[in-house]
Symmetry: C2
Subunit: 210 residues, 2 copies
């Protein structure tokens, strides 16, 4: 019985977080109200407050929940890269997956929201940065170190190489989208081509040569 | 007489724009008031309205004024690059100047402000993007095409190469600063080293070889 009650409770909590994500990314932090979150979740405001003490706590939870789900997307893709035999092909595949993941509308909205609120909530901004960006590039840095040991890359500073690689792959569409919103649309083929070029430039600088 | 009156008028207008930049970047668009701008400029609110019809028009003016002054910083540095003989050295110098320019606190604040308001003012976001980012990388693309003609680079798609080069140079500190605000500090030596590495990676992929 206790187990089923906990399950229902976890389910309700997840519904509130999903509703809050939608309200925050649509209206911003200041424009979001606990009333709107409750309405979106189909719950009473009292229920929302049973799970979250205030709007600030709910905001932090929504941001970190999105980050953790993002990491679950990127982690297996990086692990696959570490085991690669054909690095050229594996890096292109990884680059395409990374760019597609970053250009997910939910990820883009959350990124913009956290940046916009970085002055108001520096701790949320820092935790977002460390748990999303820094954690993912940290895992990628370990992978580049491993690939260097295996003789498939020559990387002296794995952390910096991981950051530069990621930016080579994601920067162009990510920046355009940050300013242009939905007006900056890309086809899958265009994104794949940008990912391929990022991987190519990276291998020119950090590969072991032809 | 008319000339001096116009001069005084242009001077007053510039004072209002400078005051508005400070108010908008400190308080955001919604938190900024025409009263606060007038107080910061040491002018009456009536005077502010003589120059700007409303807050939205003032906001657009402030953004584009910052963009135009930024372009005047970047333009001569790109032109110098086009004339380079020692490309390796000239590219490192250009990269260092670019990164220092982007990491200027006023530029960072304006960039964050425009991104935060991109949903509310898509036209301002688009014009910011086109007049700052796209104009500067457009000039850089012309320069890379010229350097390719001169046999100092091998660049097939100058626009894409210009974007990738810029991101190689600025991404790491720019992204960290976007989320961490003032907590993400860099020394000049650290920025120079990141700029040098960006230039090195670019030349590995697009240079004519050693």
């Amino acid at each position: 019985m206790a187990g089923r009650r906990e399950e229902r409770s976890a389910h309700k909590r997840a519904e509130i977080v999903a509703a809050a994500r939608k309200v925050f990314t649509t209206h911003g932090y200041l424009g979001a109200s606990m009333d709107a979150v409750a309405a979106e979740a189909g719950a009473s405001k009292r229920t929302v407050y049973q799970y979250f003490a205030d709007k600030e706590q709910l905001f932090a939870t929504v941001v970190l929940d999105t980050v953790d789900r993002g990491h679950e997307y990127f982690r297996p893709r990086i692990e696959a890269l570490a085991e690669a035999d054909d690095l050229d092909e594996a890096l292109r595949r990884h680059a395409r997956g990374t760019l597609a993941g970053i250009m997910n509308p939910e990820v883009l909205q959350m990124r913009r929201l956290v940046m916009a609120e970085a002055d108001r909530f520096p701790e949320v901004g820092r935790e977002y940065f460390e748990r999303s960006w820094a954690r993912t590039t940290g895992l990628l840095a370990e992978t580049f170190a491993r690939l260097t040991e295996r003789g498939l890359l020559k990387v002296a500073d794995p952390e910096r190489a991981a950051l530069l690689y990621t930016w080579l792959v994601v920067s162009i569409p990510l920046n355009r989208t940050a300013f242009m919103g939905n007006a900056a649309t890309y086809t899958v083929a265009e994104l794949d081509e940008l990912a391929d070029e990022g991987a190519r430039v990276f291998l020119a600088a950090y590969g072991v040569g032809g």
